[in-house]
Structures are given as C-alpha cells and as structure tokens.
Symmetry: C2
Subunit: 311 residues, 2 copies
C-alpha cells in the first residue's frame, strides 16, 4: 500500500511517522518549502513521547507533484482553506483506485473533495491525535489518540473498515463509525465555540469559561449547529454537546489556547472560520435556518483577520 500524507504539518507528520514506523511506504507532500527541504536533508525529526526519533521519508513539494506513480491512499491533512489547492496540485497522483481519507477539522469538505475524487473513493473521519510543529522538519508528538472514519460512497462500509484496520496496524487506533457526521459536528461544536470566542476575547478556554456570559453564548451557538444538522438528518444531543464543549474548562486543559487563537492572534494567519461557524452560516442560509451568532462571529473573525493583516 503506497500512501501519501497531503498536508504534512504537525498532525500530518505524526501520521507519516507512525505509518512509516509501521512499515508502510509513505510519502509526505506539503506546500511549505523550508519544511520539505528540512525533511529531505535531515529526515523528519520528532520528539516522540519524550524520545528523539529521526525518520527518513520521501517528500514532495506540493507544487512539484506532477504526474508521478499513483498512490493507493492519500490522507489529506491541510488547513481547511488549503484543501482545494492541495487537491488541484496532486490530482496527477490520484488514480481511479486511489482512496482519499479526509481527517480535517470542520464542515463542508466533501463538497470540495467531490470535485477531484469520485464519491466511492472518499472517506471521511476525524482524529483525536494531537501534534505540534516546532520548526521546519521538527515535530513534538506526545499522548495518545484515535481515529474514526466512515465511507462517503454508498455500500463502501467494508472498504472503510479495511482502511481503519490498516491504520490501526500502525498504532493509529482507528475504528469504523456508522455516523461520522455526528462525530464531526460534535467536534465542530467545540471548535465553533472555543476557537472563535477565545480568539475574539483574547483569552484561554478556562478564562472564557469563567465569565458570566460564557454559558449563554455556548448554548446559543450549539443550538444553531443543531438546527442546521437537523436539516441534514443528524440529530445532535444539545445537552450532551453543551456539556462536551464545557468540559474544555476542566483545569487539565483549560489553559489551552485553541488553534484559531494560535493561528490568528499569535501567528497572524488566516483562520478556518469559513469551515466552522462560517459553514453553519452558509448551510443556514441554504436551508432557511437562522444562525445569527455564527453569522456575526464569522464576520468578526474576518474583520479581525483583516485588522491584523493575516495571511
């Protein structure tokens, strides 16, 4: 099985490293030249659960992928807004049989994937694995995680189960889900509250949770997600989801600044808001479901991106 990781940032590098250590022929593809060059010259250098590990892996710069040999499996791990460009750049190595597994955070990626990949070959999932990029070619990997995935094409359950087994053989702890969209919405509710609110209010999750208005804001946003999901026949358990979101205030993780905060406030990078609250706004407009909190949050995050000159 010839595998590519398309988008080899922190979490993509983790998957590449673990698959490689599991004996899989895996290639890293990314658009960041310094990162690719560093891995090409020195290997992927990881602090892996406290130990220093260096792994030699084939790498390709996204813009130079061309029409090489087809891969059997491509795991896409770009930022949401980079997915379309990545698929465009690597279409030369996507064959008739190439399966594409999308583990991106956020909503609305299947629409993008379908422009480049036939539905039967698309698999959607999410992951609880984490990772940090500490410099070009360098990652910090600690803790454990899991993957859930499901087929998008009708009747492709067996392929999805085999894919989960294949990932698990390298320790990625993957399992088949018969309701992956529920899991994706559930995770999106966390991102659609903690990410944008800590970013707009310039605080960590625990600080936000300690404010007197946090609960009301979370409740209203989760209800908007649920109203949109309902139109897609996904029946979110609002009370459970609110409790799930508010578990972010647990002292063990409450000091965390979510990825959107890191992207925009710390690194002046554009955010994934259009694939989280912005996706709910777009779906809401399409379905005739009001989503005003998501609308205003999306507008304010875009304003903040522009004010900070985010790129």
């Amino acid at each position: 099985m010839k595998v590519a990781i398309a988008g080899a940032g922190a979490i993509g590098s983790r998957f590449g490293l673990m698959l490689s250590q599991g004996g899989v022929d895996v290639t890293l593809i990314d658009g960041w030249k310094e990162h690719i060059n560093a891995i090409r010259e020195n290997g992927l250098q990881a602090n892996y659960n406290g130990k220093d590990v260096t792994v030699k892996l084939p790498v390709m710069l996204q813009a130079e992928v061309g029409r090489a040999e087809k891969f059997d499996l491509v795991v896409v791990f770009t930022k949401s807004m980079q997915l379309a460009q990545m698929l465009h750049d690597i279409q030369g190595v996507l064959g008739e049989q190439t399966k594409v597994l999308c583990l991106l955070n956020g909503l609305g990626h299947v629409e993008t994937l379908e422009k480049y990949v036939q539905r039967d070959n698309i698999f959607l999932g999410n992951t609880m694995w984490t990772a940090g990029l500490t410099g070009p070619g360098k990652v910090k990997l600690f803790g454990s995680g899991s993957v859930e995935l499901e087929n998008v094409g009708d009747g492709k359950q067996d392929d999805a189960k085999q894919l989960a087994e294949f990932l698990s053989a390298s320790g990625l702890n993957a399992s088949y889900s018969d309701n992956i969209l529920y899991s994706i919405y559930r995770k999106a509710c966390v991102n659609g509250t903690m990410n944008c609110l800590t970013t707009l209010l310039d605080c960590n999750m625990g600080q936000f949770g300690a404010t007197s208005t946090a609960h009301q804001i979370v409740v209203t946003i989760v209800k908007e997600f649920a109203a949109v999901a309902k139109v897609e026949k996904i029946d979110l358990d609002v009370d459970e989801l609110i409790a799930h979101v508010e578990s972010c205030y647990d002292p063990s993780i409450s000091g965390h600044y979510p990825s959107m905060y890191q992207d925009l406030i710390q690194n002046k990078r554009k955010t994934e808001i259009d694939y989280i609250n912005g996706a709910i706004s777009r779906k809401g407009r399409k379905y005739g479901v009001p989503t005003p909190y998501c609308d205003l949050i999306t507008e304010m995050i875009h304003a903040k991106e522009e004010l900070l000159g985010a790129k």
Copy 2:
C-alpha cells in the same frame, strides 16, 4: 434658578462651566472624591477653546448631599449605570418642583428616573457637546455643540421650551424637539455599532470601517434597533441611519476610539453596554423581537469586562 449638575465628569463640567459663566447659580455633584476636592480647592480648571480658565463653583460629594435646599433644575450627567445610585443619593435635594433633565447617552433611562422623579418633571434630551477630563478638577473643552430636549410628561411642552431657552442663554445652543426619542435612537445606533465593535476588535472607527464585513454587521445591528423602536412607535429610517453610522469612517474622525473603547480597553472600566445594545436586547425580549446581534455583543462585552477585571 438654582441648578445642579449631577455627575460632573467631562461633559457635566462643561455644562457647569458654561452655565456658571452665563450667570447661573450652579453646583457640581459627583462621586469622585479627588475630583470634588480638587475643584473645591483650586476651582474647576478648564482649557476652554485653547484658553486657560478657572471657575469657582460650589461642589458636593454625592454621598454627602443629604437634605440641603432643593434645586430648581438638576441636569444628570452620570455614566448610565451610575444613574440610579446618583438619584438615590441626591433625592434629598429633589423637591416637588425640581425639574430633572437627563442628557445621558443610551436607552432605558426614563424607567430609572421615574423611580425618583414624577413624570411631569422629567425632561429627556441629548447633546452633541463634547469634553475631556484631563485629571481631577481639570477639563479640556473645545469645539461647539448643541442640545435637543423634550418633555416626558404629557402637556409639558412649554416647560421643555423654557428649559431649552434657559440653557441657550448660557450658550448651550439648546432647542426643543418634538421627537427626542428618534434622536436618542439615532445616536444609540452609532454607539451600538462603533462603541462595541471597536472595543471587541481592538481598533478605531476607520480601521473597523475598512474591513470587508463592517457594512453587513452595521446593517444587521441597525435593523435590530429599528425593529425594537418600531414597537415603541418610532419609525427609524434604516438607510439614513446606516449612512449616519458609516459617516464615522470619514477621515476627519475615523481615527477616534469611542468612549467604550476608552473605558474598557484603555482604562479597564465597566462599559455602558447594558444601556445600548443591552437595552435593545431587553426590549427585544419584552416585545418578542429577535435581537441576536445585540444579544451576542452584550454577552461578549460583559465577558471582556470580566476578563479585564473592569471596575
């Protein structure tokens, strides 16, 4: 005519100074001890259109007002959230005949005034005069302005007109309005957009106006104000109001940081949000009119107040 200015901050001090220079017996009442002591010792020291002016005025600390001689007119000029406490503290000098003129920004003050003053004696207005406090007992006054006011009690138009004439005799450029609530809502639309959005996004008015989402946010908020005003039989001209709000992006004033920004971001003080967007939220709930943008903005400003430890 014995006049008190209840709330002698920057703008209250301006009114006190101008009335005093117009020959009126005027007393300043305020809760800030250093300010009152400084005026008592050194007089009110003003940079008045570029000239240094010192005016000796009677002053009273709000908490020590007691049951002195009644005033004929009290002009209240507190921060919105301090109005109730001020009225409580000065009730001993509010007689049967004492007129109270409220020139505070924001909405919902009549409800507070009515707890201490009979309706026939309440006058509502707004002012375009500006002023800055530069230290205890020191103000900077420049530019010109005006006052519009109206009676709250039925059939008290003549009293309102006399009150306007009285203020104008000291150069305050006051006039009677037959629709003061329209003017108050119109000003509240500016405060309900520029104040909170520059505060939440940490920018000045021009920077906010230059973002791609500013217009949509302004339109949605102004429509919420209009929907609430409509229930009160005030028919706001939405297009004119949006243009009025967006005139804040004019280069002559676009560099300004609104008072809420100054209060919260620069000085870590609590804001007047409950009397601007928060008033629209409360009225909306009461009238069954959805006001989600005002709801979320109010919740976020309160969260920000708590995060910054505002007092």
